[in-house]
């Protein structure tokens, strides 16, 4: 798995994550008006974060089989 | 009795010239315009000699030659092959299939007549 498909997927996930959690993508969510009654940035960060964890979990647990 | 000669060629003008030459020599002339017709007429008439063109529709001269030579009833039929493709391989192939002689087009009328005469005299 180290250099296999899962490894490459993890590296890809890293770069996607690094992109999402930084400028300029981050600035897209940085609005001052509420989003479904909550701060948009806060909601988006947590949702993206959870999604990323989900994807990584899928990659490694799948590879474990 | 006059010898029978079959002229098998798909080029009308060549047939006309051969027919004229052979008749002038006093032979009885039969004509076929393609390979199949040639085989039929050879079977039916058993000519003494066939002037056989190689490039003919339906059946090539080689095929006709092979069929004739493999038929014991037609052992007496001489075959003189005429071809416009002057390659050595074609000459060799014709002879290998049992053709008795081979001439390339365009031929000299004198030589052709001589060759026909000598082939028929062998019998």
């Amino acid at each position: 798995m180290r250099t296999g498909l899962a490894g490459q997927r993890l590296v890809a996930a890293f770069f996607v994550g690094a992109l999402l959690f930084n400028y300029p993508v981050l600035s897209l969510f940085d609005r001052s008006e509420p989003f479904i009654g909550m701060p948009m940035l806060w909601v988006c960060l947590f949702v993206l974060w959870a999604m990323m964890i989900g994807v990584v979990a899928w990659i490694v647990e799948r590879g474990a089989r | 009795m006059a010898k029978k000669i079959l002229i098998a060629d798909d080029e009308q003008n060549i047939v006309i010239s051969l027919e004229f030459l052979m008749k002038r020599e006093g032979y009885e002339v039969l004509i076929a315009n393609d390979g199949e017709e040639a085989v039929q007429r050879i079977r039916a008439e058993v000519p003494d000699l066939v002037l056989l063109d190689v490039m003919m529709p339906k059946k090539s001269g080689f095929e006709v030659c092979q069929e004739v030579k493999s038929n014991p009833d037609l052992q007496s039929v001489r075959i003189l092959m005429l071809t416009a493709k002057g390659r050595d391989t074609e000459v060799a192939k014709g002879l290998a299939l049992g053709a008795d002689a081979y001439m390339t087009k365009p031929f000299s009328t004198k030589e052709l007549v001589e060759r026909v005469r000598s082939m028929l005299a062998e019998h």
């Binding site: 981050l26 009654g37 940035l41 964890i53 990584v56 | 080029e11 060549i14 416009a84 493709k85 365009p106």
Partner: protein
Amino acid sequence: MLSGTVVVAVSFAYLLVLFAVAYFGDRRAEQGRSIIANSWTYALSMAVYCTAWTYFGSVGRAASGGVWFLPIYLGPTLAMTLSWLVLLKMIRIAKTYRITSIADFIASRYGKSHLLGGLVTIIAVVGMIPYIALQLKAISSGYTVLTGQHDSGFFPFAGSSWVNDGTLYVALTLAVFTVLFGARHLDATERHEGMVAAIAFESVVKLLAFLVIGVFVTYVVFDGFGDIFARAFADPELAGLLSLKTASSAGYGGWFAMTLLALLSVIFLPRQFQVTVVENVNEQHLRRATWLFPAYLLLINIFVLPIALGGLLYFGRGTVDPDTFVLSLPLAHGEGMLALLAFVGGLSAATGMVIVETIAVSTMVCNDLVMPLLLRTERFKRSEHPDLTGLLLGIRRGAILGVLLLGYLYFRLAGEAYALVSIGLISFAAVAQFAPAMLGGMYWRGGTREGALAGLLAGFVVWAYTLMLPSVAKSGWLDRDFLDHGLFGLGFLRPEQLFGLAGLDSISHALFWSLAANIASYVLVSLARVPTGQEASQATLFVDVFRRGQDAPATFWRGSAQVQDLLPLVARFLGAERARRIFQTYALERGLGGIEQLKPDPGLVQFAETQLAGAIGGASARVMVSSVVQEEPLGLDEVMDILDEASQVRAYSHQLEEKSQALEAATAELRAANERLKELDRLKDDFMSSVTHELRTPLTSIRAFSEMLFDDPKIDLKDRTRFLGIIVSETERLTRLVNQVLDMAKIESGHAEWHNTDIDMRELVEQAVETTAQLFRDRGAVVELDLPDEALHLRADHDRLVQVMLNLLSNAAKFVPTAGGWARISLSRETGQIRVDVSDNGPGIPSDELGVIFEKFRQGGDEHSRPQGTGLGLPISRQIVEHFGGRLWVRSTVGQGSTFTFVLPVPPENAETVQSTQ
């Protein structure tokens, strides 16, 4: 408010529970039934990352900077994504070479250097002291909040005498517990199963406690997330916290720096290295931790912002320290027990961190700082102390106490000036300095001892100058003057605007300069010289750890020692009984009867050294072993020879492989080229043969008739005329053939001349039909013309298109039946093109001949109707049509006739004008 006694009693009770868990874990480990040998425990133990800083400090951070607490957790999430690449290699290296700390790792990698190990240890100690101070501060201020400021007995704030300072007792208590957890006995592998079990337990406690407080604040004090956020939006000051731009002046650059810092910290913090690498039981456990640990981080952070906003909404700004909202909010609502639970959670977080961090740092201090110094004394080398295990334990325990006391000292000196988060970031920036030497050492062979030294030193100095010293100065223990005006009054040396670099927050600023200095020094100094033999061999062992396999550490030196020499040496540090046991196992594994049969080979020496390395560090083990081994140290040349031999064989076989592949490829290419040539040759032969045949056939007739006329002057007039007629027509045929062959050759080779003019297609068709009218009349056939009303203009070569039309028309004329024959020519315009159809009611073309008729010298139809053709008309026509970008094709049904169609494109603007004129 709670009474101090209750709080202290509960705290001690909790610590005892933790110890019970650890004791149970150790017992089970001794029985071989480990309770930590699963991926869940492993991932939970990583959560030691979440300290009191997370527990209290994140809320404080959120109260002043909104979402700015998050990068500290997003960084680790990103780092863990790469764990299967980076951490796995680190774990493999550490396990294979018995590495027990970061200092040991770096020292071993760069040629088992004592100096490097010492430097890393010093950086770690200096870097971690503020962090430990942070935990002490958290516990002490938590205690203060719980009990009220002026409870008797403990009075935690500076200013009172040290003896009365509760924080000192907190530090001492933690020291005792840490010794109990981590330095009760000596273990060659430096693994502490009980401690890991306790940490995993502690992680669950702090998470649950924090979630309970979060739910309490969000759903009991307020009416859910929506309520808190709605109120926050209503308050203009709080609304500013909800956006990244308005919440902090650091900007996106600062955000990135913070993420990077956290990303590096989760790998290089000594305690993270301890739980992730040293305490790892099974490499496969890393797999689950890759997502479970980030998921833990996400969970513990969900309520941070709501609690912070809730606290600010409830207390207002500036009345209560936001760092203690977790405690003060329940207290303010009369929920004393809840506040106590929150305190236990915080205590848990702080204790876990202190225990693991001090154990990790004390291992470094012992193995990489104290031992090397002791080993330098000659007296020590001569085995005057038969058993040193006691000494080793003593050193470690002393180190634990020392580190905690230093933490306390920092707390006394600087702790009050800073919020929790700021202190933590200073430590993070310190451990980030390990990254270049560690990562470089794992992936780059070229790094040298001097390079690593220079990098670490440069990074450390810059860190101290730009971050550590300002923190001390701001606490009032140093003259602030150098902060504002630079060292020696030199403006460009201002620590927080080094070389005039302004616009960054202090952390980003320090991180940038320190890492820049670090990496630059590491790389440049490393490149200054070729690695020595020792460095090169270690580099290979580290970089290629996956290639070598776990149980075959290569030996890069010659030397031998009798087992009688080695055994006592190992016994000195591990204890006599344990040493015997280990050697016995080693002998049995090799199929030998007992220790006495062990041969004095390099493998044995290597084994002994590895065992020692676990206890006293790689560098010290090297020194100790070499004192008893008759060693011939290998020079660089010899090591390089050994390395070269292997790498040359590898390179050579690689080259061979490459060459044979290249050869195969070349062969295949040649074969393909040859096939192409053969094919071309065959085509050319076929063409020549066809041309020969086509030329000889008319020549045959011409020669035959000419000779006959020449030889026989008596041929009658009728025959003579007929023969001459044949000669003339065959000559014409020959001429036509030669012209068409040349034409074809010209078009194919691209040398044909095209005279494009504006032509009217209608006129052209009419003209062609007129030209061929006689042919159709001869056959008794009817020609129908279907032409549009207006002219169809197009730019093309007039004569060439006439040639195409004539060809198609003469073909039609040739094939129509002699009775009732007809041909229909239609011209029409379609979108973007002009279409011409030439239909006839001839015999039609069998479907298998449809493609063939466009090939050269391939004529369709019955032989009787053929003699006119050369077999080149259609191929030439198709070439012409295609030259103008059109297509020529045929549709035919046998017995019903054929339709030849060609289309020619016309430019769209032309089409428009045609349409508009309509």
